[in-house]
């Protein structure tokens, strides 16, 4: 699974609501690097020098049949805007695949709960499809502030049972993911919870898992400069001291964190 630096052409771009954008990309070389793991990320150089440093973005989905990857990006600043403003047919300069991935080895028939908040659902789609392929039961809790942000809920449906929560009660169950009765029911049978979203949400999910004795992995989004383990900017404090999220993460078992 060697890291590569190559150009990817935008084959399809979908502007979604709430400033989200879904990009489908194909490598200029024609071939994707082998063995991309769900939970890994890419580092994209924003076009036209919009930013100096690359921007880390999770791999949303990988299709080895067509050699395409997709990314789900929320516009929040210069880098994400410049990337999402590029039209179809243009190329992005990308380094990938980076970081580790979510655990995938569970007993057949086990249940895994995926919990995503906002753009944090991005790395969970590929994981949901991989788990389903392996005969693992997947239950998903998808939380957002409002219905506009539930941009990829349909995409998850083929792979899992889906529970939706919104803070403003505009769709699904009102409240936060950890308030949902469904989530608490799911916890009873789960082999593991795998979560990505805003910090406070991941901490609440981690606390609920601890209380129920359920294993839990979270995907962190620390600020990064190199994405390669060279600069030591992205560290998270763990039981083993400061470690790089870009190489030893972004996925961590909560037992390793000091939360």
């Amino acid at each position: 699974m060697a890291k590569v630096h190559q150009n990817f052409t935008i084959t399809q771009k979908c502007e979604l609501s709430a400033g989200y954008c879904l990009l489908h990309l194909k490598p200029a070389s024609g071939k994707l690097p082998e063995g991309i793991l769900p939970g890994q990320f890419v580092e994209i150089l924003a076009p036209d020098n919009a930013t100096m440093l690359r921007r880390p973005i999770s791999i949303h989905f990988v299709d080895y049949n067509t050699d395409r990857i997709s990314l789900l990006i929320r516009r929040v600043g210069n880098g994400t805007n410049a990337i999402c403003d590029l039209p179809e047919g243009e190329a992005l300069d990308i380094v990938l695949p980076l970081g580790n991935g979510f655990s995938e080895d569970f007993e057949a028939g086990a249940t895994v709960i995926l919990v995503g908040g906002g753009v944090g659902v991005a790395p969970l789609l590929y994981q949901a499809s991989k788990l389903k392929d392996k005969g693992i039961r997947v239950k998903m809790v998808y939380g957002a502030r409002t219905v506009d942000e539930l941009v990829v809920a349909e995409a998850f449906k083929p792979y899992c049972e889906l529970e939706i929560t919104t803070d403003d009660a505009s769709a699904g169950t009102p409240g936060r993911v950890t308030d949902s009765v469904c989530f608490r029911e799911y916890l009873k049978e789960a082999a593991m919870v795998q979560c990505c979203g805003p910090g406070p949400m991941m901490k609440a999910v981690a606390a609920a898992c601890k209380a129920h004795g359920v294993a839990c992995e979270v995907s962190l989004e620390n600020m990064m400069a190199c994405g390669l383990g060279a600069c030591l900017c992205c560290v998270e404090k763990t039981v083993k001291g400061n470690v790089c999220v870009c190489t030893e993460g972004p996925v961590f078992n909560i037992e390793k964190l000091t939360w």
């Binding site: 630096h5 150089l45 930013t51 190199c226 060279a230 600069c231 030591l232 900017c233 998270e236 400061n242």
Partner: protein, 302 residues
């Protein structure tokens, strides 16, 4: 073909003038998926201290216009870990490997250098004198002539091979510091380390870095670095190694024309992992286009 090899003296010869800046290139291995490390003149590994250090709390970096602030704070596993675990993996490479040495006391610096002197394939160390001097209330060694020459003299006793000393730009007269370290026994001088800076997240009403202030690097600092290299190269006799914001061959050539014998590529490695090779090839192309046979023809012409 242009002749690119450089002799920095006291046993340090580079096949070309392109080195990497400490703290931006890990231990080289992080970049081996992207470039052939043996094409480099050499690489300088992460700042190493006598004992392991945890570094500063997160957040440690912020992007700024054409640059970045960092406050990594010398996180490393200590010199013995380097000797036992990292050196054996990289020592066989056909390129120069320099270890960047930091410390919190003169004794620390000297002891770290002494331990490294047992490693046959390390022909040079780079002394980072921008570290706070704990005895002097935390003021960096490299900000006074006395502090700078004290640490360089002590390491000179402990380290028999090539001693490169890296200067902090956060001083009133860079030339005076350069003369002091040359007098204390430096074989070459590299500059610049990061410029002290600060940035505020106004939405959250707090600084971006956990340490409030941090070190600025990247293209934003390049004109300051070129000016300082020019001033130092005019003043000292030992070779000067220039760095600060180099992204392209042209940037590197600015430093060489200002008097640098070699250059280091730092923050640019984060932007493009093949930056070092790009810089090298662009220097070659420039020389070919201008009919330059040796960099000596243009070094220090300003």
């Amino acid at each position: 073909m242009v002749k690119l090899n450089v002799n920095l003296g006291k046993g340090l010869t580079l096949k070309n003038p392109v080195l990497t800046a400490s703290g931006t290139f890990g231990f080289g291995e992080e970049y081996s998926p992207f470039i052939d490390l043996e094409r480099l003149g050499g690489f300088i590994v992460k700042g190493t201290t006598l004992e392991a250090r945890e570094g500063n709390p997160y957040p440690r970096m912020a992007e700024t216009p054409s640059g970045m602030l960092n406050a990594v704070g010398l996180q490393n596993k200590g010199v013995d870990y380097f000797i036992e675990h990292i050196y054996p993996r990289i020592a066989g490479l056909d390129t120069e490997i320099l270890v960047n040495v930091s410390g919190k006391s003169v004794e620390d610096y000297a002891e770290t250098a002494r331990r490294l002197s047992l490693l046959e394939n390390i022909h040079a160390i780079e002394l980072n004198i921008s570290c706070p001097n704990v005895k002097q209330g935390g003021m960096a060694y490299g900000t006074t002539c006395d502090g700078a020459s004290e640490v360089v003299s002590a390491v000179r006793q402990a380290w028999p091979r090539h001693l490169m000393v890296k200067l902090s730009p956060n001083v009133t007269s860079i030339k005076d510091i350069a003369l002091a370290v040359e007098g204390a026994g430096a074989d070459s001088i590299s500059l610049i380390n990061t410029l002290l800076g600060m940035a505020v997240d106004v939405e959250r009403r707090r600084p971006y870095l956990s340490t409030i202030t941090g070190g600025l690097s990247g293209p934003a600092v390049r004109p300051v670095a070129v000016r300082m290299v020019w001033q130092v190269a005019k003043a000292v006799k030992v070779p000067v190694v220039g760095l600060g914001g180099i992204v392209s061959g042209r940037d590197a050539l600015e430093f060489i024309m200002a008097g640098a014998s070699a250059i280091q590529v730092g923050t640019a490695n984060f932007i493009n992992p093949e930056s070092t090779i790009k810089v090298l090839e662009e220097i070659e192309e420039f020389c070919e286009r201008q009919g330059i046979k040796s960099l000596d023809e243009i070094r220090g012409i300003i």
